[in-house]
Symmetry: C2
Subunit: 384 residues, 2 copies
């Protein structure tokens, strides 16, 4: 029998927007019972801000509404804490304490609870109460140093919220790690995820590289001849990933005899002539179609691959062969995706649509021991 | 007593370069005993390609050399499998099978072993044997659709290897999840990490957003007025992260009476006048220093933060208050970093320098039951 790693683990997810939602999507795929706890009437802002994003990120979760500011709402939440394993919250630091939902309070109810706070700058330090979004965290963490144009200004906007998604990854990793630790210690703990700290962690290797070698300027670290995106004659794009010299030699070997790029075969001449090489490569690749180049480069073991623009990825033969996509009844053009890693001993769950706001309030409260008449009463007073 | 989640878990790390090394650095910080298994004489390429990167990524690990192509080297490795919990490998698909190190073989030696293969495109599918690097995976996964200049070509190089680091995150998450599953099932399993699949997983939310709303063009998804990087009068940069309207209103409220930006207070006029607004904002922010703007924006709760360029991050008051940095005796200017998430019940390990190639061969082999005379013999024949 296959067993999902988080089978039997219930997560009360108080978080809003993408970082928490992607973390608990992955947790749900690993077998957790994810219960979104949302404000009555309004719910998670993501529902209205990016409805399709909500539908994508919140499949296989349940939704209960609880007014955490009301006394009876709080009591309902405390009752749910008794049978929960994890609470995830992404309020600004201090809000949980004001609501009476801080770790000290809930761990008295259930010492096995793991409480994870996900915030932009962490629960401590001078920036802790600052508002912020992905781009702000990327800047503080030094990550914008290595984004944008190599020779342009030091920083640009980015479409992919790298700090958000990286924080999701550290959040789900830390939750699973705390569950594993609890198997041994029998007790829960408090987990403080700062999106900025998580992003800074990726930068350590680059900072070490730069500090140890003066020639590693920003431009040198961001641009390597033969490692870039090139447009083909059909208007599509191809990537080349020639890092190691062996791949550069393979690339040179595909060229017609006497081609000017052959003057830059040695590592030294390659390093010293970046701009010239990039110009020659761009001109060369612009002369033929992407299919042509992918065939040529595959035959000579040059790291080359297509650039899939949005929907194109759905037709990519590799992603299709990997059965990455799962039908999404709500958005046929934007399928769900399976958990991206394939485990030999974990079977995947059937996808279930993202829940309507509060769709599982009655079900979850009944599971926690509330009588239906009490639930009806709570609903009347607006507590759930 | 604090307990690290991976206490007592031994990982034999056959991987090379950054993606595997960062994954096992995080695993080591979570308490694992990480043993790098390296080719005698040459070792992990990262040692010579980026020595400072190796030093940063391989602290708190041990190094043994084993020639996995030799019969006696293979026998040594099989012996180590008896007491190991996890094997991580990043060879091209098929190489482990040729070496006799595939899951079927090693799981017969130790059915509790978790074997994780980390590759660019995964163990199956038409691209499985293609060479590749970060940029190639970003392209196939659709991620380059949302990188680069909003109005420029669809794709650019990036300095931060996002696909590499994201794959590290999924690798360590999957290893910890498989260890947790083993606590229940008593058996190991095989884990297939495709860097491309992992990256594609981040794209699902954006694809859903785009497919469901025709107005969400690439440019619209990448550029939002008041969400960008701006240069200050002192030459430094500041980020603004005004996503929600409340933050845009806060920003407008900081402006002098009659400032032209006040014409764009409503959400509709904000959306419709991106270029004009960006020009006005850039001109405004260029008139004062970064410290000035950070004070102004903090007082009105506008999401704003400094852009730290490389070494600048070391002086950032928030990162310092969070005690993110740990002294690195080898590179004083490029400190180590603690595991970026703070656990209340896991104490951090003392940092230990990255090992010299094979520094722990004798120690690890003796732990596995080899007599010193046998180890000396193996060394003479070049097997270790």
């Amino acid at each position: 029998m296959n067993t999902a790693p988080l089978e039997g683990i219930r997560i009360l997810d108080l978080s809003r927007l993408t970082p928490g939602a992607y973390a608990t999507l992955l947790a749900a795929d690993l077998g957790a019972d994810v219960v979104k706890v949302e404000q009555p009437v309004t719910g998670d802002y993501l529902r209205t801000l990016v409805p399709a994003g909500f539908s994508y990120l919140c499949r296989n979760k349940r939704s209960v509404t609880i007014d955490l500011k009301s006394g009876s709402g709080k009591d309902v939440f405390y009752k749910l804490c008794e049978s929960a394993d994890v609470i995830l919250e992404s309020f600004r630091p201090g809000v949980c304490a004001r609501l009476g939902l801080d770790y000290e309070t809930v761990s008295h109810i259930n010492p096995r609870l793991i409480v994870c706070s996900l915030s932009g700058f962490g629960q401590t330090g001078p920036y802790r109460n600052k508002s912020g979004h992905d781009l702000n965290y990327l800047g503080v963490a030094g990550a914008l140093s290595l984004m944008g144009e190599p020779s342009g200004p030091p920083a640009h906007s980015t479409g992919i919220a790298v700090a958000d998604f990286n924080a999701s990854m550290f959040t789900v990793l830390s939750i699973v790690a705390a569950v594993l630790a609890r198997e041994r210690t029998g007790r829960g703990q408090y987990v403080d995820v700062s999106m900025t700290d998580c992003m800074a962690s990726w930068m350590g290797r680059y900072l070490a590289e730069r500090v140890s070698d003066e020639s590693r300027t920003r431009e040198a670290m961001m641009s390597r001849p033969g490692y870039d995106v090139y447009q083909c004659s059909d208007g599509t794009y191809v990537t080349l990933g020639c890092v190691e010299d062996v791949f550069w030699q393979n690339l040179i070997s595909t060229l017609p005899v006497g081609h000017e790029l052959q003057n830059f075969r040695s590592p030294d001449s390659r390093d010293a002539n970046r701009e010239k090489i990039e110009e020659l490569l761009a001109n060369l690749i612009a002369q033929e179609s992407r299919d042509h180049w992918l065939d040529v480069f595959k035959a000579s073991d040059v790291p080359a691959a297509p650039v899939n623009m949005f929907e194109e990825m759905l037709g990519d033969p590799q992603l299709r062969a990997r059965a990455l996509f799962i039908e999404n009844p709500d958005e046929p053009g934007a399928p769900y995706q399976r958990f991206p890693v394939v485990f030999s001993d974990v079977s995947s769950r059937e996808p279930v649509r993202a829940p309507e706001l509060g769709a599982h309030t009655d079900e979850v409260l009944r599971e926690a021991g509330f009588e239906q008449s009490v639930i009806d009463e709570l609903r009347k007073e607006g507590a759930v």
